[in-house]
Structure formats: C-alpha cells, structure tokens
Symmetry: C4
Subunit: 347 residues, 4 copies
C-alpha cells in the first residue's frame, strides 16, 4: 500500500508539489457560517472529497472495502469502489445502503466482461463509472517485486471477477476447484494495453451512467476526453504507482483545467495529505479531490472507525483552513488565494 513505482521519486514529488503554492489568507470577512458543499453531476456533495478507488484492501483489514464504503456512506462522502476489490460489487453496495458510490473499471481485453461488470455496478446503485486510463500495464513496483508479491495469484483482490458470470464462463473449471487456472485467466484478461480512444464508444453504448476518465496528465488528452464524451476527468498519476519519473499531478492540473475550460468537472488525486492540499487543488481548478492512501492507514488501524476518523479530520482541516483563510465557501477559495512559493511570488 505504501509502495510506489520505481525509485518512488514521483510519489515524493506528488507530495512536495503542494509546497510550491502558498495560501495568502484574507482577514476580516464573516466566516461564521461556512460550507464545503460542491455540486457534482447535478448533486450536492457535502464536501469536495471522494474516496479514491484502492483495491485489495483485505491486505490491511478483513472488512476491506466494506469498511471503507461504510465510513464514506456515514459521512456522505462518495465512495469509488476499485475493480480490484476484495469484496464483490453487490456486497459493497449492500454495506453502504444508499451512500453515493461510483465504480472504477480496469478495462479488460474481454469486452463482455467489461459490460458485465458495468452492468452489475449499475444494478447495484453505482452512479458513475470511472475508467482508469493509466494502468493498462502494471507499473514497476519494486517493493512488490522484492517481496515476490502478487495478490491476484493468492486470490486476493479478484472478488469482482470470481463472482462474475462472464469471467466464470471463460474458465475451464470453476475457480473454487482450480484457483491457479482462474488466476492465470485473470492475469491474461484483466488489463488491455491496446485500449485507445475509439474503444470508449463501446462502453458509452453499454451504460447510461456518466463515464469519468481517470489518469489524465496532458491538456490534449483532456481535450480528447471531453470530445469522447467523458462526464469528468481525474488528473492523477495513480499516486506515483505507475510511471516513476512522471510529473507530479498538481503541476499539470492548471494545464488540464485550462484545456477543459469548464465543459466538465476536473477532479484530482495524487499526493494529498492535508486539508491545505485539497484547497490548493481546488483553487487551481479542481471541483473535488479523491483522497487515497490516508484512508487506508485509518482502515488498517481501526476499520470503519479508522476510515471515518481520517475523513473527519481531513474535512475538518479543509474547513478550518478555508475559514481561517477568510472564505466562507469554496467559491471564494479561488486562484487568487494562492501564490507561487518564492521570495516575491513570481515564478
């Protein structure tokens, strides 16, 4: 969970990038009534925060994604369920009642499998599909390599697949009898390195849900995403877990925001650790942020309560930082609240 790709330089750069922007608080504005609410897809979120999709959470806690989803639901924070969940879509949905939920899809080579997963999510009350674009091949993760760790071979993080009728139909024998065969099938099918822009049409035809494209780092890719009908884009480098040496996500956020020009919401993840980080991303044009690793630490320590505690503290720090900066709501925390770090605020 803590590990990233290669020398983990991008993972560190993600965090350091926030220090390049500094908040310049205003004083003497009434901040007695504050709101962190934002609008997304026509709905009002209580705060500009979602839980990012992180798979195989059974690694840190037996309740895994169920616990994370429950905590999110209790606080009204949307939960993005990872395709590589330790628990199947339907169980997660049940655990979170009517809590807002999105489903993250790793695009498979098997289009029927994609359609099956998306259909199940749709039926289980997930309200958006997040397609991860930056993981068509697994990154070079040395901590995993050094441990010889691949969860899928141990049957972890494949609950959505083992429970899927299309996936099961591809197997010679049921996974309960032949786990190795199922794992081999999974490794062969789960990702599709040939995925390209034209393929998205296939997904658009199969679901009525908004499609969110995650992993955009270039202005021209954001442009193509909008042209391809994306309902939102997520600026992200997968928390530094894919391309070590890549640009910190925050550094390219302004480029993407400029390119999108308000046509769809821009979301953000990668490197967020504190309330001020979220506000900086918002001031640079993100509509909301996806909180990742921090909630996993909460999960590891205390299950549902741990995740809830991390979210509560993250929101509290956002609220205090916004209020202490003189803003009563997020509309007020615009680009004028920041300045580039340096002796005179010029770059």
């Amino acid at each position: 969970m803590a590990g990233s790709a290669g020398g983990e330089r991008t993972a560190r750069a993600n965090v350091a990038a926030f220090d390049r922007w500094e908040i310049v608080p205003r004083v003497m504005t009434d901040v007695g009534q504050r709101s962190l609410a934002v609008e997304l897809f026509g709905e009002r979120l209580p705060a500009p925060v979602l839980l990012a999709p992180i798979g195989v959470l059974s690694l840190v806690h037996p309740e895994g994604e169920l616990a994370a989803a429950r905590a999110a639901a209790e606080l009204g924070v949307p939960y993005v369920l990872s395709c590589a969940s330790s628990h199947p879509i339907e169980e997660v949905a049940q655990a979170m009642g009517d809590g807002r939920r999105w489903f993250q899809l790793y695009w498979s080579r098997d289009r029927e499998l994609n359609a099956s997963l998306v259909g199940r999510a749709e039926r289980a009350g997930f309200s958006a599909i997040v397609v991860t674009l930056d993981t068509k091949i697994l990154g070079w993760r040395e901590r995993d390599l050094a441990r010889g760790y691949l969860p899928f071979l141990r049957g972890e993080g494949v609950a959505n697949y083992l429970s899927d009728p299309v996936f099961r139909s591809r197997l010679g024998r049921p996974p309960e009898e032949d786990p190795a065969g199922a794992a081999a099938q999974f490794l062969g099918l789960a990702l599709d390195p040939t995925l390209a822009w034209p393929d998205l049409a296939h997904l658009r035809e199969r679901t009525r849900l908004p499609i969110v494209l995650k992993g955009i780092l270039r202005a021209e890719d954001a442009e193509r995403a909008v042209a391809a009908g994306a309902a939102a884009v997520v600026v992200s480098n997968h928390g530094g877990r894919q391309v070590d040496g890549s640009v910190p996500a925050l550094s390219v956020l302004p480029d993407v925001v400029r390119s999108v020009g308000g046509r769809v919401p821009v979301l953000f993840d990668s490197g967020l650790r504190r309330g001020a980080d979220a506000l900086k991303a918002l001031a640079l044009g993100a509509r909301a942020v996806l909180l990742g690793r921090p909630y996993v630490w909460g999960l590891a320590l205390d299950g549902v309560a741990g995740v809830r505690s991390v979210i509560e503290r993250f929101l509290a720090e956002i609220d205090l930082t916004m209020g202490l900066s003189g803003c009563a709501d997020l509309a007020g925390f615009d680009a004028g609240m920041l300045r580039p770090a340096g002796p005179d605020g010029r770059r």
Copy 2:
C-alpha cells in the same frame, strides 16, 4: 508552545524565508557610535523589538506573563500582553511598573466583554490595543490534538476572563464554584468568526488607544486596515499556528509595505530567530519586529532572567550585525543592504 498548525510546513517556511535574502555588508564607515532606536507612535523605542503576545505562559513557568513583562520592562522593550494570559491585566501592569505595554485582544462575540477588557487595559496603563485578525477560529494543531490538550478547559490562560465583571455576569454560577460552566462559556464567547471590517468601528468608539491590526498578509487587507483607522499593522501568520500551507510572513512583507506606503508603521513577526532576521525584516520595510517563541524558551529555562537573557542576546546580535554591515543606525540599514539569494542576486 513549540507546535504549529497541521504539518508545520508554514512554521518551517517562516524560518527558511529569511535565507532568501542576504545581507551585503558595507565597509569603512564609522560605526563607533551605534543606535538601534526607532520611533513608534511618537515615542522612541531603544530597539526595534517588542515581545509578541503569547498566552498561557504558566505552561512553561509559574510566573508566566509576569516574568516576561518584567524582563521586557527592565530592558525598555514594549511588552504585548496576550488576551489569553495566565495572569490578569492588572497584575501584569503592576509587575512591570511603567514599562511600555500593549494589550492584545481576541475579539469576542460579546461586545461588552471586548469593551470591558479594553477598558481594563486602558486603565492599567496599556498604550495600544492589538487586535488579532487571524484567529477567529482556532487552527488545526495536531500536537495539541494528539495530547488532547486544551488549556482553557483546565482553567489555564483564562485569567483575564475569570477576573472580568462582564464575563462573570454571563455565568450562572461563579467560576470558582462551576469551573466547567465557565470553561464552556469561555469557549462559546472568546472568539467571533463573524468579525468583519465594519465591526472595527465599534472598538474605535470605545477606546482612545491606537488600534494595531495583527495578522495581515495581503496588500488589499493592509489597505483596508489603514482605511479602517488602524494605527499600525502587523504582518504575521501567527508563527505558522493558524493556516498550515500559508505563505511565510516575510514573503509578503514587501507587498504590504508597498501598499501601506508609509501611512502607518508596519510591524512584523513569524519566524524570527536571530539578529539578522530582524534586520532583514526592517530592511524590507518593517518598523519593528515582535519576538515570539525564543523568549518563551528563555522563560521556561530561567524565568525573568531567562527572558532578559534572550532579549539581550537578540539585541546584541542585531547591534553587531548592523555595525558589521557598516550601518550606525537602522535608517542606514535599508533595502539596499539586501539582495535576493542566488548566483547573481536576481530573482
């Protein structure tokens, strides 16, 4: 005392900001007779230094603010008494004889309480009111949260309130009988997140003392402060204890100085540790600086003598650095004495 807000990034940035400016000493000027004197509010101060308002000093020494005030008085350095003092206004005044003293006000929701506190300060010989603008809500201080520390609940740092007739009149039972009730009342009353520019008129009508506005970080807020009748402004981010992720105070000092344009004095705190730091702030346009945490370390170690020792050393280092830079007085230590750090002095 050592802790700051959030990840304490701004607290560290405050200190590091001084390294971005370097002194370029002159040689061969007569510095046999040197003076650190500055004029402030028509009075001549022996040095461009005041003690910053820091509350709850009983945490580090039983004599708390009494000791700090006494040390300041012995050296002719103005003492700014914190609203959250461990000892009441009147006792501090008595302890420091005719030493110069200012009173720092945390603006309460209860306007009569504000008026009462200010009136007491006025009667006790305090010669200016410092209104802290950056603390209408308490910052996110993790060291305190981790320790479950809130001094006010233990009756510390509330001496000015418990001794105040208006505050006492708000209680159902006297604090001596119902400390919990007093603490609850304090927490509900002490700060006012709705405080805004128009409210200042209320204070201006209630006191003949000059009003100093502390916590200004933006040129336009400095402009409004002057327009609102402030007698001086203090560029400060509360030593990094309020908005983690905010700009280091030194970085915005030139902006504020330019905006104020000499109409009122600009004071400065946040990050000062050494004599050269003070001189850099002065060269960038501050009239005087408020020394904060360093005197608390002196207090913790040796009471009055410890505070005196810290102040003496701070002044000695200012004096030596000024003299060794070729300046016999502070008028000579102007912006031309500095250059931005870097290979060629250009930003």
Copy 3:
C-alpha cells in the same frame, strides 16, 4: 567502483539532474505491441542500451569482464570492453561468441601500441573503437588515495597490455619476471595528456572501424568531433570520476544534440540508475545510453547471472515506462514527452 572524483559532487549531480525533467504520460494509445529497438551504425539493436566500458572488473568478481560480456551477449546488448580489462581482448571475444562488442581505447603515448590494441580488437570481432577523451590524466579520486589503491601496480586491469606484443617489446624483461618494471612502463605509456584533435587522423588511418568519441560535454567539441570523422559521440563525464565540479552530463546533452544536428548518433552515460532516466536521455536526443555502475553491482553479487539480471530489469523498466507513457516505440518518446520540473513547466 563506487568512488568518484573529489568530493563526489558531480557524481551526485549526475543522478539529481534527471529529476529536473519530468515525463508527462499520454493515455489511450495502443501499446499492445511495443519495441525498444533502435538503429545504430546500420544495425538494429534490441534496446537503446549498451554496457559502458568499466575496467579492472576482477576487483569485484573473478570472471570480471568475461562475465559482463557474456551477459550482454546473451541479451543482445552491445558490450563495450574497457582498455583496462582484467582479461585480454581475445578471451573476452571468445567468451561472448558473436555478441556485439566495441573496444574502448585509452590513447597511449605510444602510437604503435594504440595501433596494436586496435588491430587486435578488429581481428577479434569488435565492431567499433571508443576513444575516451576525458581521461588523459587520472582524476583526483580520494577513496583510492585514502586506500593507497592503484590496481595497475598490483598487475590488475593490465591484461590487454601484458598480452600485447608491442607493449612487451618495450620492456627490458618480460612482465612475468619483472612485474614492477612492467607496471612502471604501463604508467609511463598508458595515457597521453598531449592528445589533441589532429592526432585522431593517426587512428582513422589505422582502422576501418567506426570511431566513437567518448567524454564530450561541449557543443563546440561535438562539432569538432563530427568534423574529425567521429562515427558517434558519447556525452559523458565519466560518471563523475574525472572532474569533480563539472556539469552533470544530462544538462549539456541538449546542447550537444543541437550542435550535432543528426549528423552522427549521440550516445549518453553518467548518472543513469533507472528506466525513466534512460528515456529522459533519449527524449533529449540520445540514440542510446551506456549503462555503467549498476551492472557492476550485479556482477559483484552474482557474476554473469547478476549482470543479466540488472540488464533485464533495466530494460523491463524502460519498456514499462515507455508503454505506460503511451508510447509503443522510442520514436514516439520524443522531447514532447518531457517537461522541466517546476510549478508550471517553464524554466
């Protein structure tokens, strides 16, 4: 092996220089079929990687250069044999079958010796001569000085000389009988600090092989190298082992590439540790890179298998990073894939 010149500042700067450029991955391009192949001297290399010439490898493993050469041959990676090899040219050639190999020459004061070494390499199937320009004098290497270490005096790293008929003809007695005399002769002959541009004509007349000039850091020297008939140049500062305080090699690569203007291939070494580093050098205009120290660590740990493992991992990380960045081949990984590190990608 780990040591560099002086305070090893340039060795560290070489590595840090890669962090000044960041990859901006593309998404949604078909990377199902990827190739790392590049063309060099009319031949197709499987990857843009050669093993850099490093001498005296017997220091870390008894099979020394034989093992490194074998591993390179097994993976189709060209091996550049150091002039200061622990094993003679002919043995290395035999060990690697028809694996691609180049011979690196330290230009001797004794032109007949140069001609003899080059002739032997030519006959042993080496297909290019790499003349190292940055080592006409040995650098100031404090780790060696502190240990009183000079391998040549112990008969290490001189196999090519002791086996050379011209070298032997310069000795009064055979080296087997008088090792000290041979060592003295070696020290007197091996390098030529007077080597200058006109001397290259001598070598050009003696060999039909392409001549690669290694150690170029200036645009005007690259220009002269092309004019002097170099078949390729290597931008390198010898891994920081010669001039401590010199520019990191990566910083000057764009200058040299611009100067050469595509007339001959530009190769690169110094500071490469990971796949992303190689891609950054290629995006800045290098045709291929020479991997140095990392393969020595593999050799030290596990001989042939260790070197092979290091190369395999290096190539795997290049392949994954290229693919995850949205490029199916190296032609696609051009300068547009990078941006300078910083808040807005401007320098």
Copy 4:
C-alpha cells in the same frame, strides 16, 4: 576554529555557493605541459594560492603560525601572517627564510601602534600589508560564547602586541607582571570601529608596501578601495565568522570584478574546500585565492607536514581539474569554462 558567526548559515552558504557554478570541460587540447603560475604585484607565484591569515594557531598546535609559515615557504606559497599571531612577526619571518610573506593588520585605535606593527613587518621582510575591513567589531560567535572562550584574555594570540614597543609603552606595568592589565589594554586598543575611508591615507604615508584591502563584498566599496590606492582587494566574508546572514562571498565576486575592471588584482577567500572551488573563483575573475580553514586542520593533525600536505593536495587537485578540463594554464580557464547550475545553464 571550526565555528562561525550566529547560526553559521553564511559559513554553510559560502561552501554551497560553489555548486551554483559548474565546469564544462573541453577535450582534445594538449595539456602535457601545465602551469598554475600567476603574476601578482610583478612577481610570479607558482600557483594562484596564498595561505589566509588565521590567528591564535597555538590553539591547535604549539608551533602555530611558525609551522604554517614554514610549510608555505617550502612550497613557494605566500603566507599571510595574522595580526593575532601566537608568535611575533620577527620569529615567523625567521622561520620562513625568504619565503614570500604578507602581514595582516587589525587596525587599532592607536595609530602609533599600527605604524609600529607595520614597520616591524616591513623590516622583517613582509612584502604587503593586508588591512582587514570586516572586523572592526568581533562577530557574534556562539561556539565561543557557549564556551566562555576569549583567547586574548588567556594571553593567546597577542604575541605581536606583547612584543611591540608602542603597545608596551601604553601599559602601566609590563605584561609579564600584569597580564590582566595587558589584556584589558589589548581589548581596548586592538580594533577601531570608527575606521573609515579617509583613515587609509594615514597608513599609506607610513609604509612603502602595497596595501591590500580584505573583506570587500560590494562593487561600490571595491571602487572606493581602488580610488583609495589599494594595491589589491580581497573578496571575503571572513569565512562566515562576522555577519551571519551575509551573502556568500562567491556570489558577489563577479560584481566586484566588474567594478574593479582590472585596475588591481581581485583576490578571494571564504568557502574554498577543493581544487574546483579555486578554479571557479579564478574563472569568475579572481587572480588568486586565500586558503583558510583547510590548512588549520592539517596543522592540527601534523604540524608543518600537515599544512604542507593540505597545500600539496589542494594544488594537485587544482592542477588535475584544470588539465582534465582541457586547460594548460589559468589564462585558459576563463569564464567560458563555467556555466550556472540548472537544466539549461540559464539563470
């Protein structure tokens, strides 16, 4: 010896400043015959290096300045004797035979004392007077303060004074009988904070020796130094021992060189640790450098031999770095050999 002023930020910045410039070596130039010789005051020095004046060397070795002077003489390196020497002028002169020597003067309030010291130096074969401009008051040195250390009170570093007829004539009783009285007299007399440009005329009239002004950091002060008849200036911040927070000496060297415009030689000290540092200062316009602390470490470890060893290694590293950079002499190592550190060599 290791300590500097204040927080020792300038001492660290002095060293770090060299990393802002990087050498770009040339290749393929004949460096078989190299020379480090420079001309200074009409004489040819074997290398562009002098030993900087450092006083109270008895602290680290009983032979103190005698040993340093002897080592310098043996290697033909000029020795600048500190005014605060542990051994009198005449003994140092005798120890170094006809080795080149300059005398550094701390300008006293007592002009007759200045004249006496300079006259003694002149008679003892010293060939220049170095007036230190940056030490008219002692810096704020916390390591010394923490130890309660003041060598002069213990009779150390005052040999030139105790042996001086003018100084002795100022005492009520001879120092052998009343050391405390002598120390008090020394502290009262030794420095003159009123020293200003017009005072130099006094010295010019009293000696035929060239006057070198040490401690210049500003272009306009360099201009005044030349106008006042200085034979050379030394860009120096006293190794960071006087104004903590001051500019690193290397950063202002180009300004001073530009201001002096070749009318007199510009020398340099502060922060030099390695050969490349010396070459960078020379490339930026210094005629020669003064090596300071490093030779004291040699002295502490091994007396004369230790100092000699440090100088020899320093010269060897300069020679190798020059040669490996493609220059046969220092005239070739000009500003074109450097470039500012950074991704593209632009500032």
